[in-house]
């Protein structure tokens, strides 16, 4: 029984450490939203600004760089004039889709409660 308890603790601990690792990659206010926005199509800088309401260009730029450094997003500069830049999820970035999809599913299910919750603020 003490063993079972220890196993229990170990499972819980591993689980929580894994969540922490994921959150380390997805740190910052906007990363999850950026990945969600890119999970269907590649997008240009301006499209991301329009899609992610509330984000400032400075923050988008900064968090895109961090995502790129972590290998989740690629940045492609196209030879147009004026310049065009496309951001796209890498295959590695796409592995986050199940996470994003669960979030979207939860958000849709609990939309009403979310509204109520935000009204309480």
């Amino acid at each position: 029984m003490a063993e079972k308890e220890n196993l229990d603790k170990a499972v819980c601990s591993v689980h929580h450490m894994a969540v922490r690792d994921t959150m380390d990659i997805l740190n910052g206010k906007w990363k999850i939203r950026i990945i969600a926005s890119l999970s269907f199509h590649k997008k240009r800088f301006m499209e991301l600004i329009a899609d992610i309401d509330g984000i400032a260009a400075k923050m988008l730029s900064k968090e895109l760089q961090e995502l790129e450094m972590n290998g989740l997003v690629t940045r492609s500069v196209l030879n147009t004039k004026p310049i065009t830049v496309e951001y796209e999820l890498t295959p590695y970035g796409h592995t986050l889709k199940p996470v994003i999809n669960e979030m979207a599913a939860w958000g849709m299910k609990h939309r009403k409660k979310v509204m109520k919750g935000s009204a309480l603020k």
Copy 2:
């Protein structure tokens, strides 16, 4: 084809809005970690502090209050001396488990890359 494109945009938009709603509830640096920590057992304030390494008492207190306001967590004061306070996920809070579990699954799969990524910083 134009219709298909519009449908595409609509699906994408709804998906992204749902993610935004979820992130509105889970705003702040620590909420997901707190919920992950509570997803197995109810815990006391000090246990949460110990479990979520790096969090300050002030932030834990603040984010727990927000989670409580949004109906995700309950706070119970026990008549012991000194006082004991237990935090527990509500049934509503438990509906976030699939989200947390996906995060944990991703973190475990990509642990090596996460390490590499953090080394790059």
